[in-house]
Symmetry: C2
Subunit: 141 residues, 2 copies
């Protein structure tokens, strides 16, 4: 995956976030570029309805054989709830924009990095942050 690809999909995640005027959008992409997207709906659906949880609900639409081939893109680093859900889902790659530390300037956060959770998984997960970080941080303002 080249850096242009990563930026393209983070941009798609940003578009999801803007659809509901939240800082949080997420996309799951398969190797052929098929994708599903979602945004944070906690104000309507309760505290677990983060963008990543919502998009994981949609991943069966992609109909992949091995979820390790999937990449989840998120405007903000997945919190431990979402990162654990990503592990339960078996997703192999995670790319995000702003970090949990960035988000903590605008609200409460659980300070465990997504890499710390990924290291506890029973299969390898690649995690990369900081893609279009400034654009993602601007979603909070």
């Amino acid at each position: 995956m080249n850096s242009k690809d990563r930026e393209y999909w983070i941009q798609k995640a940003i578009e999801q976030a803007k659809l509901n005027e939240t800082p949080f959008g997420a996309i799951i992409v398969d190797p052929e570029g098929r994708h599903v997207g979602a945004y944070n709906t906690t104000s309507k659906d309760g505290p677990a309805a983060h963008a990543e949880i919502n998009v994981i609900q949609l991943m069966s639409q992609l109909d992949v054989e091995d979820p390790r081939a999937l990449t989840l893109y998120s405007t903000v680093e997945p919190c431990p709830m979402c990162m654990s859900a990503i592990v339960w889902a078996g997703i192999g790659q995670v790319v995000f924009g702003a970090s949990i530390d960035d988000a903590a300037n605008f609200g409460k956060q659980l300070h465990i990095s997504s890499k710390q959770i990924a290291e506890l998984a029973w299969y390898p997960i690649q995690v990369e942050g900081g893609v279009l970080k400034d654009e993602c941080k601007r979603l909070f303002t």
Copy 2:
């Protein structure tokens, strides 16, 4: 809360688990004993549909002013996904039966204790395990 109360509600969580023939059931109780219950539905609803996530979806039915007054009872120690969701929900007490280590004998687990996640919260959460532990462990067999 006395130990009889705790056992009563863990028993209710066990009943939830048995409804769907999974080891995982959860109940949220308010100070007046009003409660909602749910079980694991991952086989139908995807990897995030743990009992605790499902019961948190129902907690608005309890209509409490401050969720810190609520107690969540679970047959098994909440995984980091569920424990983080409990923090996002603002729930004040957690009681469980079998531990993550117990559950790891029967399937993959993310080894972060619920107390470790609770310590990262911005409000105090009481966590107690081992209530009707043997009955809860038997749900796995």
